[in-house]
Symmetry: C2
């Protein structure tokens, strides 16, 4: 059965890539209201595709926001384990679009990679799991029961998913959760993240004069909102990269010495970091290594800022207003609501009284940390080693999957993160790509995992 499924995956690999490209063509950017119809199209495309494969009750279920694609195959019976497979069909925005070599929603294959927004994050990875299930169904009954929950708001903090999970606990009940939305540590080196960072997010708007002012007629008498915002941004870190928001680090769970030692052994080098970033010198808290800063320390980043004249040439104005967007990555046991409040209080404490400074909180998510001694994690490790020939390392991931904390706390199931993106794949950046070798091996890895779950 296992071999026949893998044979099927190999024979049909090219078609799988073509089908993935179809999904990648749908510009399902969840954060941009203009793309709401595309969100529905992507959800319905997935539901129809799952139905074609033999998944039952596949449908786009409504939420407060974008739909969740649900589907199930439960014929393995009550004695077999039930697996809830989570993924997301929404993608990040694409600007600056001018930096894309080929258009973000016209998937293009170059040198063994497929380039498109969502190629890895997460359409490519979740679709590999779908292809694994198709291959297994073609070979016979599945070894386990499965349920799908593919959401459309992962890139906007999974705003509606918590309510969806709470409202559908019985429908979603499972013995474990499988998520494929994380990268390898390096090519050939799989990893299983056991910790993910949470997010706190906010936007700051600084408003000054009633309109842009002529800098000749008023310059020297008006506090410049862009300069005032710049001072607020500059006040967020000290010179060592430490976040200066009072109380920011209060709830950070200390990193045990044995875990520091384990992280130290992760095969991720300064050279890896340099290659991936294009930079020479890492920045950040001097008391922590690169790996610790990414996996075990919280951050505060300005994701974008704007104000005044941005066109060609010069325009001699004092801008009427300026703005910036911030996200903070959180680690256990930081509370996103509390961090957002501390951020707001700090900004307001520094805000010049002669300007109007508004802090707009955005949706946040909790950090998550999971035990690594479960049978599911062991099966995942074995599946990865079988396909790639290298045992995975257990790592603290720097990214965030908002739903992990919710699934852990609400469904009381272990969450397994079995991802096979590559580290510099351009997730959230221009020219995102998916290595097709990783895609095909990922399908095989998932087939192994399903079988190991039953037999282990």
């Amino acid at each position: 059965m296992l071999e026949r499924a893998i044979d099927h995956a190999r024979v049909h690999g090219e078609r799988y890539v073509r089908e993935l490209a179809e999904l990648l063509r749908i510009p399902s950017i969840s954060t941009l209201p203009a793309h709401t119809p595309d969100m529905r199209r992507a959800a319905e495309w997935l539901a129809a595709h799952l139905t074609r494969l033999g998944i039952r009750n596949a449908r786009a279920m409504p939420t407060q926001g974008h739909p969740v694609v649900y589907g199930e195959w439960l014929d393995a019976g009550p004695n077999a384990p039930t697996l809830l497979i989570y993924g997301h069909y929404d993608v990040q925005p694409v600007d600056p679009v001018s930096l894309w070599r080929t258009p973000p929603f016209e998937p293009t294959i170059r040198e063994g990679r497929i380039y498109a927004r969502g190629a890895t994050d997460d359409k490519g990875l979740v679709f590999a799991l779908i292809c694994a299930v198709e291959s297994m169904l073609a070979a016979g009954p599945l070894p386990v029961n499965i349920k799908w929950m593919i959401e459309g708001e992962e890139e906007s903090s999974s705003t509606s998913l918590e309510a969806f999970v709470l409202a559908n606990k019985d429908l979603l009940a499972a013995n474990s959760v499988l998520i494929s939305d994380t990268p390898f540590l390096a090519p050939g080196q799989p990893q299983i993240p056991y910790s993910l960072r949470g997010i706190a997010a906010a936007e700051v708007r600084v408003r000054g004069p009633k309109t842009d002012l002529h800098s000749g007629a008023f310059g020297g008498t008006v506090r410049n909102p862009a300069a005032a915002l710049a001072a607020l941004i500059a006040a967020l870190h000290d010179e060592t990269g430490h976040v200066r928001i009072p109380g920011f680090y209060d709830n950070v769970r200390p990193l045990p010495e044995e875990e520091r030692a384990a992280l130290q052994k992760l095969p991720y080098t300064l050279e890896d970091w340099q290659r991936e970033t294009g930079l020479q010198t890492p920045w950040g808290e001097p008391d922590f290594t690169i790996k610790e800063r990414i996996g075990a320390r919280p951050t505060c980043e300005v994701n974008g800022m704007w104000g005044g004249f941005q066109g060609e040439g010069t325009k001699t104005i004092i801008p009427a207003e300026a703005g910036a967007k911030f996200t903070m990555r959180l680690v256990a046991d930081q509370d996103p609501a509390m961090i957002t409040r501390l951020f707001t209080e700090y900004i307001q404490s520094l805000a010049p009284k002669d300007l109007r400074v508004e802090v707009i909180p955005h949706e946040g998510s909790w950090p998550a940390i999971t035990p690594i001694d479960t049978r599911e994690i062991k099966a995942a490790a074995k599946a990865l080693e079988t396909v790639w020939g290298a045992p995975p390392v257990f790592a603290r991931g720097g990214g965030s999957l908002p739903i992990v904390a919710t699934l852990q706390s609400e469904l009381k199931t272990p969450v397994v993160m079995l991802g096979f993106g590559l580290p510099d794949c351009g997730a959230h950046a221009p020219n995102e790509w998916m290595d097709l070798g990783q895609f095909h091996k990922g399908i095989e890895c998932a087939i192994h995992y399903f079988h190991l779950l039953r037999s282990s």
Copy 2:
């Protein structure tokens, strides 16, 4: 003759406004290369219009950049004074265009004002001088010889005009220069600026990672270029509004006590400032009054900044780069090239070594200060008082007319600034307007001035 000219101006006033609207319809934004054809259209429109009025040799003369409109009427003969009239037909950019109540290049009359980009600065003002000459020519020969020099690069630091003046000294030779490009101090209160600020300008680009990075995968290890730029912007001023660039104030000519006393008497109040800015509390160097800060002190402003994600929603990235544009207003005797160098050195001294920080200098201009005891200034004062019933105050202007310093030094003539915009007319901002009463009175004032120049 004078009365007949004024009668003619009154009878033809509505047509003058319609003709001004024609000129305002041409989107002659000099800083945007896409508008180069519009620059030529505006210049040719003006040359054709001057020709129709009886101005000789009216033509758009080529420069390194946008053309200069020249024209002359010299029949008053060698014993009459010759007046060089300067103006500019280029306008500021219009963004944010969404804040305009009516489109910037569709002139609209509401409540006695004409709204359009350039309505005051400077098409409306220079066109009033043209209408004055038309009215006088309709009444008989002009009392003085006149030459026109209407440039197309005032809003981009008059880049080509200095070379044009140097190459055409004989053509432009005159006994005095007339410029109408400055505002009243308040409605009903004319002013004659005797000092103008210069400009130094530069753009700063900060480049970090090779691409936007996922803030989950890299956050905490990469210096954020937008945050680094914010720190550079924040370092430009101390808490009192004093510019922190070393040497910035070295060449500033001290303000004599008698001039401080005269400035103190200018009828410009805190309430005026509050009404014009929409703010409550002035900002800036505590040792100087509002009027001194605008007229006698140099400034450093960020005119615009940008970096990373500016769209709706959130995007969890570390931006690959960020940028900002700066202009500094200079006072006598600051050298724009030296100030730009000091700015560059200061920014580079603070620039983090792990990022690439580039400072791109832009064209600057010298400050200017002129004697106020000439017969031309006295004639201008009398013309203003005749029409508005109030004597002008002599003020230090905060704005910049780059060419004033050049004309003073190269043509060795006094420069008279006879402007009649109103202070909150939205020059450089959305919804720029010109009061039609000021426009018509401005025409009459110019007619008086021309006659007074001959008789005084």
